[in-house]
Amino acid sequence: MRAYQRKLDIKNGRVDLSHGAGGRAMAQLISGLFHEAFGNEWLARGNDQAAFDVGAGRMVMTTDGYVISPLFFPGGNIGSLAVHGTINDVAMGGARPLYLSASFIIEEGFRFSDLKTIADSMGEAARAAGVYIITGDTKVVERGKADGLFISTTGVGVLADGLDLSAEKARVGDRVLVSGSLGDHGTAIMSRRQNLAFETEIVSDSAALHDLVALMVAAGGSSIRVMRDPTRGGLAAMLNEIAHQSGLGFHLQEEAIPVKPAVAAACELLGLDPLHVANEGKLVAIVAPDMADAVLAAMKAHPLGCDAADIGEAVADNHQFVQMSTSFGGGRIVDWLSGEQLPRIC
C-alpha cells in the first residue's frame, strides 16, 4: 500500500528545508513541479544523469549562473533568462544547442507559486527553442543564505565541421554587426529595482538567438570571425574584450548604433551609457568585409534581427582602443565600465 502524501500546495505553500533534504518532500517537489514543467523522456527516467545522442561535428559546452534581482521583470523572469542566456552562449560559437542542465539553489521560504511560474517559463522557453532540460539538481538553503533563488544552467550543443569562431580571427577591415537595439534588458531590470522604480514601456529583450545564428552561419559561414552576446558590461565591454584578444582596435559610428528612444531617455536620467547596459537577446558579429552585407541581410530576415545594423569596423591599433565618432561630430573612446554601474548624483 502506498503511503498517503499530501499534495504540493502550489498556491499558498513555501519551500522549506525538507525540500532539499533528499527525502520524500524533495522527490515530490522534483516530480510535481520540475518534471511537470520540463517534461521530457530523459528526465522521466529519473536517473542521476542523462545519456543522449549527438550528431556529427564537434561538441560545444557552456555554463552560467543567474543571480538577478528582481527575479521577475518586464519581458521575462530568472527562469526564461537562465534558458535563453545559456542557449545564446552555445549559439555564439555558431553551434546548435541541444540539451541543458539546471541547478536550483532555493532560499527557505520561497513561494511554490513563484517557483512554479519560473519553472514553467523555463520549460516554455526550452520548448520554443527546441532544447531539452534533461538533468538537474535542487538545493534549499536557510533563510538569508540566498537571495530567493539562484539558477545555474549548463548547455551542450554541436558545431558543424569547418566552423571555428574565435576572437583572435578578427582582421583589420572586418565589419561590426549588431542584431538590434542596445540596452533594453538592463534598463527594464533597473526600472523594477525597488529603490529606483520608474514607469516605462521598455521590456527585456531576453530571447534565444540560435535560429538567427543558424541563418547567419548559412549566409556567411566562416567569414563570421567571432560572435558574442553583449550581456553584462554591454557592447563596450564585449568589444574591448575582443580588441584585447585580437590585438586590434575598433572604430564605431555612434549614429549607426540602434538604441530605442525610451532606453536612451532612461539612461540619460540615470547618468548611464547605453553601451554599458546589459542585453539578453542581442548579438554582435565581427564579419569579413566582403560578406558583411550578406550576413546583415540574413540577420534582417529574422524577427530577432530586423533592426540589425553595421556599426563600425576593426582597425589596426596597438593600444587596442574602441573609438567612436560621436553623433555630435567629435570623437571619443568607448571604454570598459569602471566598477559597478552607479548613477551619478548631478
Binding site: 583589420v172 577591415g173 529603490n195 529606483l196 572604430h251 528612444p261 536612451a264 531617455a265 540619460e268 569596423e313 576593426a314 582597425v315 589596426a316 591599433d317 596597438n318 593600444h319 582602443f321 573609438q323 560621436t326 553623433s327 555630435f328 561630430g329 567629435g330 570623437g331 571619443r332 573612446i333 571604454d335 569602471s338 566598477g339 559597478e340 552607479l342 548613477p343 551619478r344 548624483i345 548631478c346
Partner: protein, 379 residues
C-alpha cells in the same frame, strides 16, 4: 530623444565652431574654465574640445562634489559606518572614493559595515522609518543643487519624529570656490595660469541664480557665462565668452536662460537658509581650506547633525605628494603631465580627486580621450 537631441545637433555645432573660429583673435589665447564636472564630462563625452580652434583652451575646474571631497571626510564616514548601530545611506558614486588608507565605503561594506546605496533623500527616510532601532545616517554631499533636497529631508524627519535619523553634512558652495581659485594665496604658491573667463554652473545656478556671480565678475574683471550641460549650450556659451573678451567686457551672462533666472529659486534658498549655516572653512581636495565654502546644520537642528550626535572628528590627511590634481584643477597642468595618470591612478583605483568620479578631469580624459595621447593609426 526630445528636448535633448535638439541640443546635440551636429550641423548647428559645426556652425557654432566656425563662428568661434572666425571671431577668436588668432593673435591671442583664450583660457576658459568650465567650473562644473557636468561640463567636463560633456566636453569629453562629445569630443567638444577638439571642435574648438587651437587657441581656445578649456581648463577643467573643481566642480565635481565627489572629486573635491577630501579623504578626511571619507575617513570620517567609514569610521561612522563601522559602528555596529549605524546604517549609512550614500549616493552611489561616493562608494568607490578612496579615503586616506586606500579604504573606500565599498570596501568597508565588504568588511561588514551597513552601508546602503540610495538614489534620493526619500530612500534614506524610508530606511529610517523601517528600522527605528538603527542609527540611520544620510551622507549628504553636493553643491547648491543637492542642498535643498537635504533641507526638505530634515524637515520631513522632524515632522515624522524620526529620533534616530541624522545627516553627515558635506554640502559645499560654488561661488566661494571660484573666489578662492581667483584669489587664494595658496594657489599662487603652486602657480596658476591666467583664466580669461568661466563657464558658470548650470544646475547650481537654477537654485542660486546668476546674481551671486556678479561680484566675482566685477571684483576680478572676469566674464562669466552660465551654461547648460548640453554640448550646444557649451558651444554657445564659449562663443559668448570669446565675444566678451574681444570687447573687453566682464559681465555675468546667462546662456542657460531656459532654466536659470537672475534671482534663482527663492523657495529653495529659503529652505536652505532656514536649516543650514556657513562653516568658517571647508577643505576641498586639490584646493585646500577654502573660507566660507561649506555648510553645516544650524544649532536648532543639532539633533539631526551626525557630527554632533556621534562627536565625529576630522583628521586632515595629506594627499599623495606625486598627485598633480591641485595643479590640474587650476589649469597649470594637464592629466597627461601627471606621473600617476593612467599608471597607478585609474578609474578602478583612483589616487587623486580628478580620477575619482566620471566627472573629474582625469577620469574624463582617461575614459573618453586618452587615445589622443597616442598616435592613432587608422587601417
Amino acid at each position: 530623444m526630445k528636448y535633448a537631441d535638439e541640443f546635440r545637433d551636429k550641423t548647428i555645432a559645426r556652425g557654432l565652431a566656425r563662428v568661434i573660429g572666425a571671431e577668436a583673435d588668432s593673435q591671442r589665447e583664450y583660457r576658459f574654465m568650465e567650473f562644473c564636472g557636468g561640463h567636463t564630462h560633456a566636453i569629453s563625452r562629445y569630443g567638444l574640445e577638439y571642435m574648438l580652434p587651437a587657441n581656445v583652451r578649456m581648463i577643467h575646474g573643481p566642480g565635481c562634489p565627489v572629486c573635491v571631497l577630501p579623504a578626511s571626510r571619507i575617513d570620517m564616514a567609514i569610521r561612522l559606518a563601522e559602528q555596529p548601530e549605524v546604517t549609512l545611506c550614500v549616493y552611489g558614486d561616493l562608494m568607490r572614493v578612496p579615503g586616506s588608507q586606500g579604504k573606500s565605503l565599498l570596501s568597508a561594506k565588504a568588511f561588514g559595515a551597513d552601508i546602503r546605496m540610495v538614489y534620493s533623500t526619500l530612500d534614506a527616510i524610508r530606511i529610517a522609518e523601517q528600522a527605528p532601532n538603527r542609527e540611520v545616517v544620510f551622507f549628504a554631499i553636493g553643491f547648491e543643487t543637492t542642498t535643498p533636497p537635504t533641507a526638505v529631508m530634515i524637515r520631513l524627519a522632524e515632522k515624522k519624529w524620526l529620533k534616530s535619523f541624522s545627516v553627515f553634512c558635506n554640502h559645499m558652495l560654488t561661488p566661494s570656490a571660484m573666489h578662492s581659485i581667483l584669489e587664494s594665496p595658496d594657489i599662487r604658491n603652486i602657480g596658476r595660469v591666467e583664466i580669461d573667463g568661466f563657464l558658470g554652473p548650470a544646475h547650481v545656478s537654477t537654485i542660486i541664480g546668476t546674481e551671486p556671480y556678479e561680484v566675482l565678475a566685477e571684483q576680478f574683471g572676469k566674464p562669466i557665462v552660465i551654461a547648460g550641460f548640453e554640448p550646444l549650450d557649451m558651444m554657445q556659451a564659449i562663443l559668448m565668452l570669446v565675444r566678451q573678451v574681444n570687447e573687453g567686457r566682464h559681465e555675468v551672462e546667462n546662456q542657460y536662460s531656459r532654466a536659470v533666472t537672475r534671482k534663482g529659486n527663492r523657495r529653495a534658498q529659503e529652505e536652505v537658509s532656514d536649516i543650514f549655516e556657513l562653516r568658517d572653512q571647508f577643505e576641498w581636495r586639490g584646493l585646500g581650506l577654502v573660507p566660507h565654502s561649506g555648510l553645516k546644520l544650524k544649532q536648532a537642528y543639532a539633533q539631526f547633525d551626525a557630527e554632533m550626535r556621534f562627536t565625529m572628528h576630522e583628521v586632515r590627511v595629506a594627499d599623495n605628494p606625486a598627485c598633480e590634481c591641485g595643479a590640474i584643477l587650476r589649469g597649470v597642468k594637464r592629466p597627461v603631465d601627471c606621473k600617476l595618470f593612467g599608471t597607478v591612478c585609474t578609474p578602478e583605483i583612483p589616487i587623486g580627486s580628478c580620477m575619482v568620479s566620471s566627472e573629474g578631469a582625469c577620469a574624463a580624459q582617461w575614459t573618453y580621450g586618452r587615445f589622443r595621447d597616442y598616435r592613432l593609426r587608422r587601417a
